[in-house]
Amino acid sequence: MKKLINQPEDFVRESLIGMAKAHSDLLKVQFEPTFVYRADAPVQGKVALISGGGSGHEPLHAGFVGRGMLDAACPGEVFTSPTPDQMLAAAKQVDGGAGILYIVKNYSGDVMNFEMATELARAEDLRVLSILIDDDVAVKDSLYTQGRRGVGTTVLAEKICGAAAEKGYDLADIADLCRRVNLNGRSMGVALTSCTVPAIMKPTFELDADEIEMGIGIHGEPGRERMTIKSADEITEMLAMSIFEDIVYTRTVREWDESKGGFVDVQLTNPEWEKGDRLLAFVNGMGGTPLAELYIVYRQLADLCAQQGWQIVRNLIGSYITSLDMQGCSITLLRLDDEMIRLWDAPVKTASWRWGS
């Protein structure tokens, strides 16, 4: 395994220095604790959006810092949740007086670290809420697992909520919107190859030359099932069917309750989808997948959605939430409403995503 790196332990740091040099008009990078923030932060009167998680998923999250998306991103080590001090320092840096929303992918490490950060921030009188993204239908139940992982919907939630913050939504409304996006998003991924973590330089898992892993997350975790490679159309159908056939999913998550001044358990249930619903279809590359292959997948996905009676009214195709050099893809379908569409179309200007500005 070969990589364009120097010392593995400098991977995250040097990559962020590169970002800072390349995009000084858009963002700034701070170390110890490490976070990336909008060059013009704090934006007074605007709700600040912060996300973060292990590195290795680039462009997520640092590539999405800027106008119309995130105010700050907290990168951890590769595939390792960042720490509460990073999240707290970022919150202080970008707080524009209208409150802060942490967008958190549902992994035990991320959840615990962001919970600690929320407690620390609240103790310092920062108005922080946090919303979990848990959209991976590969994880069937939440009773016997950590609950569904946060994957592709994270990207969509950051875009939509970022636009809402820019338009002046208040903190509670953005938190509601973020929760709604999450409840309407469903994802499923497949790996053709393992990824290789820089500090290890060996593939995280071994796959035979004709094997694939179905139902993977974004950290090189093995998936739910290993199978013989199939055609792109068959793989797309398996991914899409897992999403289409997903049953109503209910889980208990912890959210900060402002009136109670602490975390409370909240039960959330995904709404059912109905024929005629409008969808955003997101075909995501895992980092080592050629763009042309993603279009082959999209081609089949579009047909399958049409057969199910769903309308794709927006799409996103490219490598936005990756697992280092892994080959493979994930599909995310988000059921849209008018408000989400308006916010999706709003301008965005970040290192890795730009339109309308």
């Binding site: 390792t80 720490t83 490490g109 994880v139 997350g217």
Partner: protein
């Protein structure tokens, strides 16, 4: 009985054990997680080890609190908040003590365990570090209740941790990343339970070196 020096020796010993088992822990995590547990723990405990000389002047509770803050701000992942919370609660449990009686040590361990349970919401049998930590705390408390020496009690706790660690092998994971694997998590030893065993083992090595 356990002195401040022994606390420092324990932390050093544990940091060493982590460094020596860095690859092993990471391999265990590669099988059912994301191949970083050894790297995470080592990053944190190298930092702890480098701070130990400066901590010689502080009392036990402050030492444990510094360890907690260091781990929380440098380990990340799941193990960062969990080990961080363990040492934070441990620190609070022994506030003001210059030396630890067996009862003090028991409440240190119990408080640490309670913290990890609260933070992680895992239960015994979920295939996590709880499966090594919880039996260890029970064994220690029982042993001192039976009048065993610190050294004997901690050796029984370590044995319990080792058994608990091994008992994770046939378990189906219900918390942490391994839970995503469903049945495929079976037949693998939990990395967090393994690092907890190393923590107990380091403690018993330090306490075994002295007469109580």
């Amino acid at each position: 009985m356990m002195t401040k020096e022994q606390i420092l020796q324990w932390l050093e010993q544990f940091a060493d054990a982590i460094a020596q088992n860095k690859e092993y822990l990471t391999q265990l995590d590669a099988a059912i997680g994301d191949a970083d547990h050894g790297i995470n723990m080592d990053r944190g405990f190298q930092k702890v080890a480098s701070q130990l000389p400066k901590l010689a002047e502080q009392d036990i509770s402050s030492v444990l609190k510094t360890v907690s803050i260091t781990l929380i701000s440098s380990v990340g992942g799941a193990s960062g908040p969990l080990y961080g919370t363990f040492f934070l609660r441990a620190s609070t449990a022994v506030a003001g003590k210059q030396e630890l009686s067996n009862e003090d040590l028991a409440s240190l361990l119990q408080a640490g365990l309670d913290g990890v349970l609260q933070r992680g919401k895992a239960q015994l049998g979920d295939k996590t570090m709880i499966d090594a930590l919880s039996p260890a705390v029970t064994a220690f408390t029982q042993a001192i209740g039976q009048g065993k020496t610190t050294s004997e009690a901690i050796q029984q706790a370590t044995a319990a941790a080792e058994q608990g660690m091994q008992a994770t092998i046939p378990m189906l994971a219900k918390k942490g990343r391994a839970s995503y694997l469903g049945d495929r998590s079976i037949d693998h030893q939990d990395p967090g339970a393994t690092s907890v065993y190393l923590m107990l083992k380091s403690l018993s090595e330090v306490l075994g070196m002295t007469s109580d």
